[in-house]
Symmetry: D2
Subunit: 319 residues, 4 copies
């Protein structure tokens, strides 16, 4: 498939995304997030053979929010080892909204998975005496090949002022002996990671790094172990889209993680990374334009995990 054909498909996808935008709403639970321009829509694709496709608002900066959960998890898996992580956090899709306390307080003594807040806070707590925010930021910049990735101070302050629910979750975790580090430090690092800025472009880079077995395509440097990358991609597939993860896996079939800042990162195994930015959210907190965009791409470019052959990358060879 040549660039022209692909561009036509991307244009169709963008058009479908734009149709969906009015049905969503910009996140309002944090005042600073509510200032986003609802009509922004950026789509960036970066393929394993080095091609890049950018459409729309791919350079607008926004906060990474929950997408940081996969970066934090990746760092923690390598710093602590899967055994330590999974002793504290399960990896079962929760069937609950991202900030639910119910499962935690009833059936289980472990957060259901690292993509919901209770799980991500627990994973963050395990990193406290192993690394710093500054080091995390350096590593995040590498994963996204985005040297400008930095704290959005206005968003950070706004989140810090609206942190009661996460604080409740974190103290509940402490009361159950799940968080053993300092709770306030945990909240601080967690909130800072959520307040890092990215673009659709940097998310596409992140997606490709994951699709490329953890290796930065531009430099050939391995950033993550194969084992870590497998786990991250599987968890994105089963838990990445809050409580519509299962439905998304069936109909789109591409490991994807969303953030309430409007970002989406998708990783098409061995083929490409996709970054989307559009701050209008559906009722589950996922970027509302992302769904039709990705469904169209999945169908036209044959990206579903169980497709027989992608059409965008003609020759995929194992490294």
């Amino acid at each position: 498939m040549d660039r022209k054909e692909i561009n036509a498909i991307l244009e169709e996808a963008i058009a479908l995304g734009k149709e969906a935008i009015p049905n969503g709403e910009v996140a309002s639970y944090i005042p600073e997030l509510s200032k986003a321009d609802k009509n922004h829509l950026g789509l960036s694709i970066y393929t394993k053979d080095g091609r890049r496709y950018n459409m729309g608002d791919t350079d607008v900066r926004f906060t990474i929010q929950s997408i940081s959960k996969i970066i934090t998890l990746a760092v923690a898996l390598e710093a602590c080892g899967p055994e330590e992580i999974f002793a504290k956090v399960d990896v079962e899709p929760s069937g609950e909204a991202f900030n639910s306390l119910i499962d935690l307080d009833t059936t289980s003594n472990k957060p259901k998975n690292p993509m919901i807040n209770s799980g991500a806070l627990t994973v963050t707590s395990l990193l406290l005496n192993k690394t710093t925010f500054s080091e995390m930021r350096v590593f995040a910049r590498k994963l996204c090949q985005d040297p400008e990735m930095d704290l959005d101070k206005a968003v950070f302050n706004s989140e810090r002022a609206n942190i009661s629910r996460n604080r409740a979750i974190a103290y509940l975790l402490e009361s159950k002996g799940i968080i053993e580090s300092d709770v306030e430090d945990t909240l601080d690092l967690y909130t800072k990671m959520c307040s890092l800025t990215v673009t659709a472009n940097s998310l596409a880079n992140l997606g490709l790094t994951l699709a490329n077995d953890g290796i930065d395509l531009s430099t050939g440097t391995r950033l993550l172990k194969t084992e870590t990358v497998h786990m991250i991609k599987t968890i994105m597939l089963t838990c990445g889209m809050y409580d519509s993860s299962g439905e998304f896996a069936v109909h789109v079939g591409v490991p994807t993680k969303s953030g309430v800042g409007g970002g989406l990162v998708s990783t098409v195994d061995k083929e490409m990374g996709i970054g989307i930015f559009s701050p209008s959210l559906d009722e589950k907190g996922n970027c509302i334009a992302g769904r039709p965009v990705l469904e169209h791409l999945s169908k036209e470019l044959k990206l579903h995990i169980f497709e027989w052959q992608s059409r965008i990358v003609d020759q995929v060879k194992p490294v």
Copy 2:
């Protein structure tokens, strides 16, 4: 990898499975199932290039139980179309045990997914005026290439005598307008499908049919549409192992469905089907030997969905 190397890996897997057997228990909630021989263990692999590996009790007949849910779903997706099915049943992993009533009665008015009893009963109800048990059996035999697949009358009668919980679920579904067909007929067809007999060998055939895009490898006949096969495999991956599905996806990474009769069917996309029989179950109702067997196979043969290349099938070409 040659046959000898592969056989060595299978032998290791079998040995690991045997170690796990004493930690489980044969299903006891239905008297007839409790008669199974706890020490049985069979492992059957059928590859896309036509090779077959059988170890242990691969010819012992047992009832398919919940594995029938994927057959019923496949038939329903083709007979009714995905839209009609997914209007009645979600596809979100439930984070609940297979026969839970909670989600259904609280947060949602739809069964969470077609792999839990409420979802499977709903799917079955949609088939009532489209097909018969007799036709379903014919089709199941084709999918499994097992002409001897038939009702185990002793198990069927035993299940019918212990059906209160499923009857409760079915009437709850009727009370919510989800089941609109006759409840008793729905229960009858559902229970009959669960009481069909298979072997590890026939489950490997079923797994390969799914891995092979819905085409019977031996005859070249297409039995299921590509779209249906994608959906089935994705749902097996996210919901196939009850409330350990997420953990199984991370650590094994092969779409698999279990049944309390002790069966497991796995499908390694484009490569192979795996059938396992071992009636000793873990506390979630999954065959307890299956986990170490499949984890070993996944690791040694590189079967995880995000692996770069399987080692068992040397040349995988798209059809």
Copy 3:
């Protein structure tokens, strides 16, 4: 307080009740119930010194519905003994709607109390081989001093045709070994008891029988043991008004049981019975006019359980 003063208070109460009627709705889940005249309002009081006050539609017949739960419980307490009953059913207020399945399926293996459907069905099942509907009807007529109390066949048939949810509950109870009698027979007796007809007048009689230590005031015959009457009144107080029982106890403070047919029976210990009929229901399923009527009576006549002295009955002497 003389009859004239009391009549003035009742008139005020009725006026407050009439104001509330438009805010409610007649029960619609059973077609036959939805035919009730929303504007009906009857208030009947029968005091221990033999006085009777009737206002409004006190002779209109309607079905007793959940108020039958206290009659069934009373019979069961005497026929089986409290120990057998409370081995099967707790007496904790449930904090859940009357036909909830959740508690039953999660935290507990016992219905929370005999005033919710699961509890009442269990109590009914314990009576199956001790009595018959015909005998129950005879006894209900005595408790209510209402010889015309009989099955409303249209309502009975309508309920029988809409019984899926209760059937689900009953089979769930069977699956847990809580109901050991025949499920369909249990449902039949339960539904027949709900379909008995009463009037506000007969409910006032029932209330006085309970206030009068279980003795029919008119004949002096003891119908229920003191111990049974204590239990019934306490359970009415803590569980009689579904999930507004606690709030009702605080603000009205009179043991009361409601039915979706629009009936309310209240029992002012040692003093009086109150019967109300008004089929417009609030969102919890309680007669919406009943609340302001009873709150006014409680305040003006000093009826709260912790009041120092009722004003309606001047001299209360122990029997």
Copy 4:
């Protein structure tokens, strides 16, 4: 009934309580509480005609813990009015353990009642800008006629060091806009109130103050309004014994509140107050000896709310 007869009954009650002690455990979740002497048992009764019965360890000081919830509620009802309180907190028995988060996070946006921690924290928060701990202590001393009631600093510090769960609850309440005062100040006042010391004797005084319409019997001073006392007694009856409140109401029938320090206060309307101290707790967190003691007293002295006549106080006249 003369003093001798009554003393005999109390001795029987104490004997029954002692039998139960070994089946319970001293509270262990706070280290300081675990130091209590499990074999302590004190029973104090103070009647409306001025008699006092003390048996066993009635002068041992212990912390009031959850019994402070009724003092705080009483103060708040008078300082803020019932309307403001009940706009923030329901009064439905919760059917959940005392520190459950579930209901709060799902079905409701209000704590279920003021006797569970979420409700008590909310009530406390409403008092923050109306009073101080010092004033609350003064008033508590009056209600209990116990001038030595003071902060147990060791317990207070121990609780403050184990406050994660209450902190989680309080921040969850803040996140939902239910607590609008400073969360840490709320936790401080709440914990201080729980750490006040009492004796079985002072609890009997508190019980009689409530039984006596809010009037201090020794001075004739009204401490609480009639309306407040009605509400407190009703809430004690329906919600005072955690999730065994309903069962306790049926079988004992005396408004009672427990604390994990081992205290119980009961109020027999218009007749007497009962204070019990025994730190061995049952699995629901109630003093395990208290149940047989109170059940025996209720039966022998006819104390159930629906009894026809108490035997201990011969002539009860309204004030």
